[in-house]
Every structure is written in C-alpha cells, then in structure tokens.
Symmetry: D2
C-alpha cells in the first residue's frame, strides 16, 4: 500500500460505504461514531426487543454490537475481511435504555490474520463486556472502487 | 434435588415459562423446538435484517441464536443461570432464508459453573458455527413457582 | 486423497513419525496411547515439577498436555497443520500423581481450518479441563515421505 | 482494603512469596522481572525441551509461560485467585533460544471475577502470542501472613 495513502480517510470512506449495506447494524440501531485506521467507535441503545427473560440486555445483542464495530475495523484498509472466531466475557448486566459504546482496536495484524479487541461500556463508563475477535482476510475490496479512488494499486490480498 | 423429579418435564416447563419473557429470542423469530434436561434445540430463519454488508448472515445474529438456546439449557433445572463467557467459531457463511438449527448440550456442570456446546447447522446439515458457553448459577428460580410445582424444596443455589 | 488410503493406519504412522521429534511432549512424559483418523488419546502423570504455587497442577501444563494431543489429530492426515488459537476451561484441580487422559476429537474440518475438542479427565474419569482448538493447514507433509508410502499423490494442501 | 496499603509493594511481596512454591515456573526457567498492582512481567528462553515436532516452540509452553505470569497478577492483592478459563492466539512461531517476554495487565476486575490480558513478545519485540484469562477469587490469602504484615484486616473474600 502506497505511503501516500491517507489511512484514516480510507477507513472513514470504507465505513461510509459499508453502513448502507449493513442491514443488521441498522436494524439494531447501531450508529458508527468514528472509523479510523485500526480503530472505530459505535453506539447502541438497549431496546425492549433486546431483552432476555431476565429482563436485561441479551448477551447475543451485546455480542452482535461488538461484532458489528469489529467489522468496520477489520475492513478499514478496504481489504475484505471476515471474523473467524470471537469470544466475549460479560462483566456486568446492561439494562433497558442503557446507552452502550463499543470501541474496537487492533491488537495485532500479521499477514491475513488479525486479533482485535472491543470494549463495551455503558453510559457510566462501566465495562459491560470484553470481546476479542480473530479476523481473516478474504479476496476483494470491502467497498469496490475505493482502492482506485485512494490510489491503491496492485494485489493487496 | 429429589430423585422423583421429572427433569425432562421440568426443563420443558422452564422453557415454556421463559419464552414469553424472552423478547430478544421472539424478535429474532427463534423457535424452541425441544427442551429436555441438559439439551435443547431451536430453529431460526435468516432474515433480510440479519444480513451484514457482505450480504451473509451477521456473525452476531448467529451468536445471538446460539446464545439464546444456551439460556434454555443452563436454566433447565430452574436454578437461574447466566452466561459468563462465550466463544464462537464460524465455519461457513449462512445466507438469506437459510433455516438454521441450534442444538445445545451440556458438556460439564460442576457446582455453580458449567460448560455447554452449541452446534449451529443449516438446512443441508452443514455446520455453520460452533459455540461454547461458560455459565454461572445466580440466586433464584428461572421461572418462579416451578420448584414448588415440581416438588423441589430447599435452597438449591 | 485416494479412497484406498487406510486413514487410521496413516494417522498411526504419522504419530509414530512425529513423536521422536516432539521434545516437549517427551519432556512432559506424555504417552500417545492411540492415534486414528480424527481422534487420538494420550496419558500424562502430574509430576512435582508441574505444580503451581497452590500445590495443584499448573493450568499451563494441562493446556500443554491437551495441546500436544491436538497436534497428533490435526496432523493425522499427514497434511501439516498448526494450532492457531485455543481456549481451555478448568473444571476441577488436578493433583500430584494424578493420571490424566486427554482425548481429542475433530468437531469440524473445512478446507484449511478445523475445530477440535480435547477432554482431559483424571483417574476417576472426572473432567478436569475442556479444551477447544482451531487449526490451520500449512504447506508440506507432517512426516515427510509418508504420503508416498500410503499412495497419496498430488498437492493436498 | 485500607487506603494506606502500598499496593505495588504488596504485589511485589506476593510474587516473592509465590515463586519459591511455583515449581512449574521454576522448571520452565521463568523469571519474574517485575510485579506491581495490576501488572507483572516475566521472561523465559525457549529451550530444546520446549520444541514441538515442527522444531518451533510448543504452543503449550507459550501458554504455560503466559499463564504463569497471569497467576502473579491475579494474586497480586494477596486474595487467592485461580484461572477459570483462558484463550490464546498464536501470531508467529517462537524458535530455539528466543528470549520471550510476557506482560500481563488487568483489563477488568469486578467482584470475584476478572479479565486479564497477556502479550508475549520475542527479543525483536514481535508479538508471538496473545493470551486472555478469566480469573476467579477463592478463599484465603495467596501468601499466608502477608495481609497482617501489610495492615490488611477483615475478610476480603
């Protein structure tokens, strides 16, 4: 990848191109706050249809929230990537109307494989879940056409 | 727990009591097919609003599906339990309208902690995801009142 | 791979070829009891130099035991493989002189990636640890020369 | 815990009290470089008896190294703790005579449960493995007598 590429601008453009096609994130009301090279931030409010039978936020919804922002970071260089395996630890319950923030950061990216962490916090800055994802690059651009626009040429995968 | 308790009937009654309060599972269109002592089965069809930007089923939705059926098994003895940590490995993509089946089985339950596996397959019996959850017992009944109905007395937690 | 290949015999031959080069397994006193296609069994006795400061078997030694037998199963088709990521849950302590058994079984192998489970039990058949490994195929034969001997031709990786 | 406790000094004293009883860490040649409140650092050189059949450092030995330093951090407040579940991702091979460093840091500690990360690097500061551990507090002091010495009174577990 050329040294002249603005990696932060590329990550932001990838996020802009991805979101309209990301129906699951839209359906969950997830908002992408920021996308830069190697990191991104999202927000989601716990809705009534996200509650489990205990009356707290379903762990699967917290995972889906964390996994959503993961997708924006692992694709942020516009080389398409997928999550291969992920783990989550729940540290405290989230409740109806809680405003959750998920921050994803790259821990290690080597060749086609990467490790990324997501921290999910509530409106009181308390950690509710810790998520770690392993990603794998696949063929193609995350958002077709962006490579050319950003002056990226050659096979990057 | 008394030897005279019908554990399979108890697990089925717990599931019946849990589902009406499990808004997330209902919102995802998850159907509980069977709940017995130590195992349960659910079905879910991949909807348009479950797709990620690749156009395949969002990994978070597959996790939420697996995590949902986990809840029915770890609460199946009516001693309330929560998932503490979970991991998932994706083995092949799931597509729009795929009919997914999730089967959860206990691997080990010792004291308050348990390990449970969920296998998610598609309509061709191909594995799409493998999920492992660690559970932790909390205080109380999963479905209040069921203990008495099934002749379970004393503090089981 | 030809249909005429005896996959169980191949796995046994791979194990025989691997063990003399597996210095870590030898140093831990791990014994490979059986290696077949998709499964293998090992034994290890908890030694004094495997204890942690609590006086019980170091969790790292239990992991290394489980990871060792994993290697024999993921390489059992003689296509070289490595562990990419692994997780372990400890269900009860192991003690000095405990005789541990680890049984590894394939859960899913698709393309170059696989998921394998290892169950570690003590001499009373109690589960002490549950291990799950993700493997990845690399280039080459696990034991060079075995492919020819077993009539396997062509690029299998 | 009293505000007047020197938590860094306590963590160092715990490490000093733990190491002589930590036979596995000694047998692996692990050296504890530093132990402070919430973090600790260890070093280990890859020996010949730590190699797997590929001729690289056995993944189980890397895990045992990471898990060892984890023990010093989760016990650093002298409230005894054990690892409940751990996962590791291997990012590059380690070779004979590589000098590995493991740094463990607390990510979250809430009640009796905690999440801790360990990063293992080689002599070129390249990440070779990423480890995440879930801990659980048990009864008692990690190093009996230290609470009194540091002016910690009352039941902290």
């Amino acid at each position: 990848m050329s040294d002249t590429v603005d990696h932060d601008a590329l990550a932001a453009a990838v996020a802009e191109g991805m979101y309209p096609r990301d129906k699951a994130a839209q359906a969950m009301g997830i908002e992408i706050i920021e996308a830069k090279a190697g990191t991104a931030t999202a927000k989601m409010t716990v809705r009534d249809d996200m509650l489990n039978f205990h009356g707290t936020c379903h762990g699967g919804m917290m995972f889906a929230f964390a996994g959503s922002i993961l997708a924006y970071v692992i694709n942020g260089d516009n080389r398409a990537a997928v999550a291969q395996g992920c783990s989550i630890t729940y540290t405290r319950p989230a409740h109806l109307n809680d405003q959750l923030t998920a921050i994803c950061k790259v821990v290690n990216q080597a060749g086609r494989s990467g490790v990324y962490d997501v921290e999910v916090t509530n409106q009181n800055s308390e950690i509710v879940a810790l998520f770690r994802g392993q990603s794998s690059k696949i063929k193609g651009e995350a958002v077709p056409g962006l490579n050319k626009q950003f002056g990226i040429y050659g096979t990057t995968n």
